[in-house]
């Protein structure tokens, strides 16, 4: 056990699975160091260094740099998965999904069903998401609700280094296509991560914190915002439960419903655009299945329905933060929302 960053946790998961299983390969743009580069000294391991060192250990037959052609290499990865390998393909930014989406949603997601259950597609697609990196509207989106919408895909959104390692190993060992979301702003977050390989099962939410007054469901980086809010609220005498679903497909609604039945209040924090995101989905399911338990209307904390702004000040204003989460909790607790009162 030692302290590791999110980046190191992802790297270690990849390295350990590649050592364990020769069928595991990596492919993507710049995952080794750029096509035609003279050797590993040039291999910077992806734009943010997440795959650094893997080319040196596993060589060019298992760490494959691809052209900037997402439709080709994601399709190739789906085919490789269907024919016996366990590829981990890197879609550098999830914002590029449009280029290769047919390969994902109408091919990889459907193989098991179109071939009568006789085909498996053990494909993992790692992809960066999220705002706060000053990367503007085309490199900052949280598109996991789109993938969550497609039956046949599994959708994994780790919130910390410990979560990232265990969930990525689980993803690689899973026989279905898994989209694995890595928030750019979390790469430098550190915590204790076991040196040994381990797996965290899909569809089991993490109970981050237990409190009796309100249930906060938060996804990915938003778990950090919820924790900061809960600490501030604890000083006001409000005890929050925080649930991190870990995977949006499958989604552990049981844990969320059981908690709402105890607290009677729900706040959902989702960095994705507010229309048809995970906050709307989870809120609707709770309203549908546990309306009688609610003591107050559900509050959703999401960004406004606009492209992620490039201007730093506007981007900061766009992203849900601890203050916004705390304000939502105060609202469901019956306290006046100070921001609304000020308007």
């Amino acid at each position: 056990m030692s302290r590791k960053s999110f980046r190191q946790a992802v790297n270690e998961a990849l390295a350990q699975e590649m050592r364990r299983d020769p069928r595991v390969i990596l492919m993507g743009e710049d995952v080794s160091g750029g096509s035609g580069s003279p050797g590993e000294q040039d291999a910077w391991g992806g734009p943010l260094g997440v795959t650094k060192g893997l080319y040196k250990e596993f060589g060019p037959t298992r760490v494959l740099d691809t052209p900037i052609t997402e439709s080709a290499f994601i399709g190739a990865a789906a085919g490789a998965a269907a024919s016996g390998l366990r590829p981990v393909a890197e879609l550098m930014f999830v914002d590029f999904m449009g280029v290769c989406f047919d390969q994902i949603f109408n091919q990889a997601a459907k193989f098991r069903y179109m071939f009568g259950g006789k085909a498996v597609t053990p494909l993992t697609i790692r992809t960066m998401y999220g705002a706060g990196f000053r990367a503007a509207a085309q490199h900052s989106q949280c598109l996991y609700p789109v993938f969550t919408h497609i039956p046949g895909l599994k959708c994994v959104i780790p919130s910390s280094p410990y979560e990232a390692k265990g969930l990525l190993i689980q993803a690689i060992r899973d026989d279905d296509p898994v989209i694995f979301f890595e928030h750019k702003v979390l790469y430098d977050m550190e915590e204790e991560v076991p040196d040994e390989p381990y797996t965290i099962p899909f569809g089991e939410a993490n109970l981050v914190r237990e409190g009796e007054d309100v249930t906060i469901v938060a996804i990915g980086r938003m778990v950090q915002m919820a924790k900061a809010a809960a600490e501030a609220l604890a000083k006001e005498g409000v005890d929050c439960t925080i649930i991190d679903p870990r995977t949006t497909s499958p989604l552990d609604m049981d844990t969320i419903l059981e908690s709402v039945e105890e607290t009677g209040r729900l706040v959902v924090v989702d960095e994705a655009s507010p229309r048809c995101n995970m906050a709307t989905d989870i809120s609707a399911q709770v309203a549908d299945q546990a309306f009688g338990a609610l003591k107050a209307p559900i509050k959703m904390v999401s960004p406004p329905h606009v492209p992620v702004p490039f201007a730093a000040g506007l981007e900061d204003l766009y992203i849900p933060n601890a203050d916004k989460v705390a304000a939502a909790v105060r609202t469901v607790m019956g306290a006046p929302d100070r921001r609304e009162a000020a308007e």
């Binding site: 056990m1 410990y162 265990g166 076991p194 040994e196 390989p197 381990y198 797996t199 965290i200 099962p201 089991e204 109970l207 914190r209 237990e210 844990t255």
Partner: protein, 372 residues
């Protein structure tokens, strides 16, 4: 001044504890305090426990308030032996808090567990304490790890105290071989060799108690004494539902009721405790290791290891400690042992008696290992 001022401070229970919450004062200002008197209840993210005084005197001041969260080492209150003026007490408190603030900035890092090679296998160990006394080695039970000794390890003084992870457990290697008592006892002996320990006081809990007893019987030259806490190996019965449930549970809500059965007071099982066990169970190789050990120790829901007939022949001192509300191994297994074996029972305490009655068990351990 003619009296002595004793600061009562926030204890450090376990590796992860950096702060604790003063849940409740259980002694009033002005109350007479003896060693062993419960002064405050301390709550951490892992567990709640009563802090007992180690000194005698009068509780003159409650410095910290209920509900306050304070760092380890922070001043909670002051016990005075003899006569001390109020002004003197004020000066002491102010000076202590200034020193504590300075010390917190330059504090040495707490001891960390490390992994050593013993008999060709990685063994995780946490070593605390120093002194010339014979070392103590703490051996946890099935599914446990060195963190189970969080209340025990700091209380044993005057000697090095080694808490180890058995094969298949905690941060030790997950290869358990045959997973039987010979394999586990051999691993402990290999650790003694690797750590350069000629002779140790062994303290074993549950399955670790059977390991400690087998070493006391079969390697008496390496064992100074053996304390068996709710040990396996003294009867056939075991709560096999617990063993199977512990191995099988993959989810928090499935695991929690099993962990609750370890304690007489299920409130002691916190979110963090469940999470720590889940983190262990998720490691590659753990499920297979636990199944192998359980198959060797507890086949068909009965204990395969029987040392009861041999315990009277032990050549080293052996004591037995049991909670009467133990729901895993019946406390009745302590009945009818040879008269040479002291037996200490704790009414209403569960299988984790060394956690639920930590102060009393610690006193028994300290006096049993004595000064040797």
């Amino acid at each position: 001044m003619t009296g002595t001022i004793h600061p009562i401070t926030m204890p450090k229970w376990g590796l992860a504890m950096t702060e604790g919450m003063l849940a409740a004062w259980t002694a009033a200002e002005g109350a007479r305090i003896e060693p062993g008197t419960e002064i405050v209840d301390i709550e951490t993210s892992k567990i709640t426990n009563a802090l007992e005084s180690t000194v005698a005197g009068t509780l003159r001041r409650r410095v910290a308030e209920e509900g306050q969260t304070l760092p380890v080492g922070a001043l909670l209150g002051v016990v005075v032996e003899g006569e001390v003026e109020e002004a003197e007490l004020d000066r002491f408190i102010a000076a202590f808090q200034a020193e504590a603030a300075a010390a917190a900035e330059s504090a040495a890092p707490p001891p960390e567990p490390k992994v050593v090679q013993a008999g060709g296998r990685p063994v995780r160990t946490l070593v605390t304490g120093e002194g010339d006394g014979t070392p103590v080695v703490l051996i946890h039970g099935f599914g446990g790890d060195l963190n189970n000794w969080l209340f025990t390890q700091p209380a044993l003084t005057g000697r090095p105290v080694h808490a180890i992870d058995l094969p298949g457990h905690g941060g030790s290697g997950k290869d358990v071989g045959a997973g039987d008592i010979a394999a586990l006892s051999g691993a402990v002996l290999a650790y003694l060799d690797a750590a350069g320990i000629a002779k140790a006081h062994l303290v074993g809990h549950s399955m670790g108690g059977a390991v400690a007893l087998s070493l006391a019987l079969d390697a008496p030259d390496r064992v100074a004494s053996a304390t068996l806490i709710a040990p396996a190996g003294l009867g056939a019965e075991i709560n096999s539902g617990y063993i199977d449930g512990f191995i099988g549970a993959q989810k928090r809500k499935d695991l929690k009721p099993h962990l609750e059965s370890l304690f007489a007071d299920p409130e002691l099982v916190t979110r963090d405790l469940v999470e720590d066990v889940l983190k262990f169970k998720r490691l590659d190789g753990v499920e297979a290791a636990l199944k192998t050990i359980s198959g060797a120790f507890f086949p068909g829901g009965r204990q395969a290891v029987s040392l009861r007939d041999r315990i009277g022949g032990a050549k080293v001192p052996v004591q037995v400690i049991w909670g009467t509300a133990d729901a895993i191994l019946p406390a009745a297994h302590a009945d009818g042992l040879p008269g040479s074996i002291p037996v200490h029972r704790f009414d209403g305490k569960g299988h984790m008696v060394h956690m639920e009655a930590a102060a009393e068990v610690n006193r028994l351990l300290s006096s049993f290992v004595g000064n040797g």
